[in-house]
Structure formats: structure tokens, C-alpha cells
């Protein structure tokens, strides 16, 4: 079994910032596990600008923001990066089991930082009636298909929810030559940042329906159309306000939830509603020496804030390790 002072799970913005900070605070034996074949996490598919203004005082794209941390990591020998390494089991004593090509490894960590990010909420969580035809994607999946895989998932798009990823993807589809028929938001206010409403929707005259919802998705093999209906302040459907839009694709952009299956397995207390660790301090959990940072701790609006708070997790881990000696 491998023995390490600090193991960090996830090498997106949170994990990278935590690793660098832990090293800078004196930790000299760090293992950074990443399931993908590249460092950077979801930043790699966020090819748009808007990152870094707070943290670097510059406006960067996602890959450029990630690059700053990747370069810094490369220069630190004390951090061993293990790519294509997928953690499948975590115990309360901080032993973890992970797959990597050709091997099943077990590592015992003295301190552990989980930087596993978040997942998109799904269609099932917002209860949209209809069948299960092809053409229904989470906004982030569509982003990966276009920006990483080079595939266009559809030509006529309706977007459910006005989260930032959905707004960004509305523009992305337009730039790829697709039509975006509508963004449909059940609330009175957009979930995403106003600047994304302006530069992603208004710039391209994409209709935004506030206080509306999709009541049904039609189509047998592929999405064919959706029913849209206005709702009142209690979110009840208003009779007579229904209309239909033809489309071949529905994107779901209704928010994110922290991904914490592994720490749940280890017995960390989670808030059932938010899926965040129950904690009175950022990055801490109910198990001493087991820290959670970035979107796995709570969903952030800005990666800049993730980097800032995750650096704190690295420092907390170093203090914990010093306390053991």
C-alpha cells in the first residue's frame, strides 16, 4: 500500500490550487489523482472568456486559466500527478482505492483533500413530462461534445433554465451555426450572471421566457417539439398560455450539485438538501484531516473564488499534518 502525507482527489481548478498551496505551506509528499488524461478539469471545455479577472487581474479563457496552474504544478517535484486514476473507494481512515491503467492501487493518506467538483442537475430533478427521445442533454455535456469532441449535438435548440452554462451554450450553438429557439426560465430572475444574458442571449436576439416552463417534451426517437407554458408566482401553470416550439434538442441548465459520493462512503456527514459536507468552516468536514474544496464543498459562481478558497484547503491540510507530528 502507498503511504502519502497528503492525497488530493481531482485536478481541476480546486485540486490544483490546493496542491500548490499545500506545497507552499510545507507539505512535501503529495499525490494528486485525476481521472481524466489531462489536468484542468472542466476548465478545458470552457473555451469562452470570463475567467481570472479577480485572481490574475486578466481576462482569460478556461484553458488559459488552467494553464497557469498546470505550469506551476509541473515545476514542483513534491507533487506526484497520477492521471487516468479513478478513485472508487474511500474509508474513514483515509485509505483510498483507485484504478489506473493496468493497476488497482490503494493509498493511505495522513491528510486528504477532496476536490471532486460538482455535477449538473438532470431533467429528472425538474420533472419534465414526456418520453425519452434522443436529443436531451445537460448543457455541460453539450459543451463537452462541441468543444472537446468536435460534435454538434443538434440544430434547433431549446434551453431549460438560465444557468450560466446554458447561457454560454446558447451562444456556442449560434456560433456553430445552430438555431437557439428559446431559453425558458421558471423563476422571475435569471440564474446566470447578467453579463451572460447580455453577451450570450441579447447579442444574438435569443428569446428568453421568464416565468415559463417546459411542460412536455415530444418525440419518439428524437426530440420533435416542446410544450411551453407560463406560470404564476406560485409556479402553477396558467391555463391558455401554452404554446409549442419545434426543436430537435433540449438542453438542461438548471443548476449544479456537489459531487460527494466518496466522502459519503467514508461516513462524512452531508447536508441532504445541498449535498455539501455539514461544516461550520469552509473546506472542513466531520472527519478531522479530511478536507473538501471547490465546487465539491459548495457550488461557486466563479472559478477565481474556487482557487482562492482551495488554496486555503491546502493550508489547512498542512496545519493538520504539522499537528500530527
Amino acid at each position: 500500500m502507498l503511504k502519502r502525507d497528503l492525497v488530493i482527489v481531482g485536478a481541476g481548478p480546486a485540486g490544483m490550487a490546493a496542491a500548490i498551496s499545500a506545497y507552499e505551506n510545507g507539505v512535501e509528499d503529495i499525490l494528486l489523482l485525476e481521472r481524466d488524461q489531462y489536468l484542468g478539469g472542466i476548465l478545458n471545455q470552457c473555451v469562452h472568456t470570463g475567467f481570472g479577472l479577480n485572481y490574475f487581474k486578466e481576462i482569460l479563457t478556461g484553458p488559459e486559466y488552467a494553464h497557469r496552474f498546470i505550469e506551476k504544478l509541473k515545476g514542483i517535484e513534491a507533487i506526484e500527478v497520477s492521471l487516468k486514476s479513478f478513485v472508487v473507494c474511500l474509508r474513514a481512515d483515509k485509505t483510498l482505492t483507485y484504478f489506473k491503467p493496468g493497476a488497482l492501487e490503494t493509498a493511505q493518506a495522513k491528510a486528504l483533500i477532496m476536490a471532486t467538483g460538482c455535477r449538473e442537475k438532470t431533467r429528472e430533478m425538474v420533472h419534465i413530462a414526456g418520453g425519452r427521445p434522443a436529443g436531451i442533454f445537460s448543457a455541460g455535456l453539450a459543451q463537452k461534445l462541441i468543444n472537446i469532441e468536435g460534435l454538434l449535438p443538434g440544430r434547433e435548440i431549446v434551453i431549460v433554465g438560465s444557468g450560466d452554462i446554458g447561457l454560454i451554450m446558447a451562444r456556442r450553438f449560434i456560433l456553430e451555426g445552430a438555431k437557439v429557439k428559446a431559453v425558458v426560465e421558471i423563476q422571475q430572475q435569471t440564474r446566470g450572471l447578467m453579463r451572460n444574458v447580455v453577451q450570450c442571449l441579447e447579442d444574438f436576439d435569443i428569446p428568453l421566457y421568464m416565468r415559463h416552463k417546459i411542460s412536455k417534451i415530444h418525440g419518439r426517437d428524437r426530440v420533435e417539439k416542446v410544450d411551453i407554458v407560463k406560470v404564476d408566482e406560485e409556479l402553477n401553470e396558467i391555463a391558455g398560455s401554452e404554446f409549442q416550439l419545434a426543436c430537435d434538442t433540449v438542453l438542461i441548465s438548471v443548476g449544479l450539485i456537489p459531487e460527494n459520493e466518496l466522502i459519503e462512503m467514508a461516513g462524512v456527514k452531508l447536508d441532504k438538501k445541498t449535498n455539501s459536507p455539514v461544516s461550520d468552516e469552509v473546506n472542513k468536514t466531520s472527519i478531522p484531516g479530511l478536507f473538501v474544496c471547490g465546487n465539491a464543498f459548495k457550488v461557486y459562481d466563479l472559478v477565481d473564488s474556487v482557487s482562492r478558497d482551495s488554496a486555503d484547503a491546502g493550508r489547512l491540510a498542512s496545519e493538520y499534518l504539522r499537528g500530527l507530528k
Binding site: V47, L53, I59, P63, H67, I148, R195, D301
Partner: protein
Amino acid sequence: MIKELTCIECPKSCSLMVDIENCRIVKVNGNQCPRGQDYAKAEIENPLRILTGVVLTKGLAIKMVPVRTDKPIPKARILEAADEIKKLKVTNPLGIGDIIVSNFMGLAVNLIATRDVL
């Protein structure tokens, strides 16, 4: 005439009140930093946007290389420029910041890679 704009320079998304007389800005209110002033001026006189996208590769480690214009381009040319990006193909390894097309579409901006591609 007062025109309302939302600044897109940073996540604060300040609401700007722009006082315009004879197509010229007299005063900008509501901005929390100087970027808002510059944004309002450009937005009234000649709206500009950074264009980002991906370019197909051949024979390289990743299929799509992310790209952007190194300076903003006129908003009115964005769709045309996005179509141009789709016609490109990269076959040689690139470093982050390397120029893929110089003087892109004659707009005095370069199209650059935003990620290393081996």
C-alpha cells in the same frame, strides 16, 4: 438621451446609465470601475467582442484546439468570423498563445491557440 447598458467586463455586471447627446457619450453612471466607462464608449460607438471557439486538428493529441482572437473584434462580424474558424484545420503542434491565423479576416487581430496541443 439616457441609454441603459449592462457592463459585461466582469461578473459584477454593473447596470450603466449612459447619457448620450448627438451620438456622443456625455456621462456614464453606475459603473464601479474604469472598465465600465470604456465598455460604454465602445458599446455606443463600435461594439466589440472577443471571439472564442475551437479549431479541428489532424494527427495531434486532441481533436479540437480552443482558440480566441487576441483582441476584440466588431460585434457585427462575429457570426462571419465564427464561420471562418470552422473552415480551419491545424496539423502542426502548437503552444498556448501561438498564432493560428495572423491578421484574421483583415481585422488586425490574430487568432491564437489557448491550449498546448502536441
